[in-house]
């Protein structure tokens, strides 16, 4: 149990370290003067010189890396010149909106996908299931921004039921959440189908059936309960991918989260802002995955009681 936790923690720290180092290398590798890139087009010569000194650009690369890490540790990722504020603060002020959207979408996805996946597993390859199966494949392969635009066109323009953008009222939440959830429902339900299908054919289930356990109990208390372990792990690893989708969908709906921020940063070449977004979303994704992995022993007694190590 203790080795499990420390292993997970180590992996998370390593991932963050790799991210940070990649960002450092990228900025140093980019064509042109990093100081110029980070200061923005409106900076004066004095500003540039100040940045050069603070980044240690005249020092050897290793010293620069040290300075870079120290700045990061202090939460100093530079100043966003399009917002005229510390980049980290700008990103943190938008982060709750993104998390809000992601959490609602994942909740909706779980509520829909688990019963759907169980149904698919039990009716595997019947005509109806085949139809639903094809739909889930479609759901996981359509571009998410396109789904968003379609929903928007249909329910905000053609049938104006929901507002087309923003975060002004609860009805404004419906379309963005649905858009993000569609992909997740497709992914999770297919995962549930596969796992529950495997568990329904497992020896322990046949044995439980032989001792007269009812079909509902077999499905939920046994097959689904055993499936929940791999499903939760996969959800953890998928969270990063989901964050990508959320960002794109935010742009469609003008959601005041990280997505619109990142688009604006791209337009204005606001590197400190993009850098801050990269770091914050990475820490978030890694943190969520760590959290889920630490919940894992609660679900699996084999890990909790330290018999099996989880790869």
């Amino acid at each position: 149990m203790l080795t499990y936790v420390s292993k997970r923690l180590g992996q998370s720290l390593l991932t963050i370290f790799l991210t940070v180092s990649t960002v450092f290398v990228l900025i140093r590798m980019a064509p042109g003067d990093p100081a110029y890139a980070l200061a923005g087009p409106l900076a004066s010569t004095g500003d540039l010189e100040k940045i050069r000194i603070s980044m240690g650009l005249n020092e050897p690369l290793l010293t620069q890396y040290g300075i870079f890490l120290k700045d990061l540790g202090a939460g100093n990722i530079g100043k966003s010149y399009s917002f005229q504020a510390p980049a980290l603060e700008v990103v943190m002020s938008r982060l709750p909106n993104t998390i809000f959207l992601a959490v609602l979408a994942i909740l909706l996805a779980i509520v829909v996908a688990i019963p759907l996946g169980v149904w698919m597993a039990k009716r595997a390859d019947t005509k109806r299931e085949l139809g639903v199966n094809v739909l889930t494949i479609a759901g996981q392969s359509m571009p998410d921004f396109w789904i968003g635009i379609m929903l928007l066109t249909l329910f905000a323009v053609v049938f104006p039921i929901f507002p087309s953008s923003g975060f002004t009222s609860w009805s404004g939440v419906v379309l963005p959440v649905t858009t993000v959830a569609i992909l997740q429902i497709a992914l999770v339900s297919r995962m549930v189908r596969r796992e529950v299908g495997t568990n329904m054919a497992a020896p322990y289930l046949t044995v439980a059936r032989a001792r007269g356990t009812g079909e509902q109990k077999l499905t939920w208390a046994y097959a689904m309960r055993n499936s929940s372990i791999p499903i939760l792990t996969t959800l953890g690893t998928r969270f990063a991918g989901m964050l990508n989708g959320v960002v794109v969908v935010e742009v469609v709906f003008n959601w005041p989260g990280l997505g619109s921020l990142v688009v604006r940063a791209l337009e204005t070449r606001d590197y400190p802002l993009i850098q801050a977004t990269v770091l914050v979303t990475s820490v978030l994704a890694v943190g969520v995955q760590l959290l889920i992995d630490l919940c894992y022993p609660l679900l699996d007694p084999r890990v909790r009681l330290g018999k099996v190590s989880v790869a």
Binding site: A202, P203, Y204, L205, T206, V207, A208, R209, A210, R211, G212, T213, K217, A221, Y222, R225, N226, I229, L299, D300, P301, R302, L305, K307, V308
Partner: protein
Amino acid sequence: MSVLEVRDLAVELMTTAGVIRAVDGISFSIDAGQTVTIIGESGSGKSTTAMGLLRLLPDDLAVISGHAVLDGVDVVTEPKKFAKLRGRSVALIPQDAMTALSPVHTIGRQLGEAIPRKGGASTADLNRRSVELLEQVRIPEPAVQLKKYPHQLSGGMLQRVLIAMALAVDPVLLVADEPTSALDVTVQAGILDLLMELQERTHVAILMITHDLGVARLVSDRIHVMKDGKFVESGEVEQIVEHPQTEYTKKLLAAVPKLGHWDGEPHHDALEAGPPSPYATDQQATVRQATSSQATTSPVTLNGAHP
């Protein structure tokens, strides 16, 4: 009256490779307190017979035909009614104890589920009954074991737990599908002893499925030798072991590991001493086959393949 009466049973499996008749018209019956063994190699259809009789093969895989009546219910034509018998008058002891229990539920939880709940039974009653059952299968410290998860117990202990589960319902028939083949030989003996002892006490009928003639020799009243979905030979234990009629049975007998000369002791000494164990019976079987093949020149005819 027979507990289980099987006549001309067939199980056909619909696979990608075509329809396979895994069980092809077998007939047998088991009386209360009797043990009938189906023995054969893997792929002979013996386990399919067991699973088919319990209706544990999915309907979209297996088609069952013929007649099989268990405790008054027609297994073939009344699947819904039969499903209610599972965990009441018929119980299964599965092949591999290590995979036969849900890894994320405690022993107590899974055992408790097998115990029929009469009106007003409290958790304490359930617990007491669980402990009682584990004591019956001679598991040490039953109250402690109930709180454990399957991965914390050994294969032999798990098989005992599974036997306790099967006993929880007071069945009239136990289907034991290779109950010892995943276990160490030393553990095997204990499990088989336990089964025999329980049968003596409860008078339960046992359908034993095995590929191990040593096991069959030890526990059976009757043996049916199965090959390619059919019984090639049926009879009392001694008949089968001492006077095998078919090449197939002889081969099965020959496949039993020969022990005895490894320690330099005359092997019949080992036979006479000690409790019955698969090893001993293997020896016995081998020895008897050896002696009978020397002594017997004229083959003994069996009275028909089907009882």
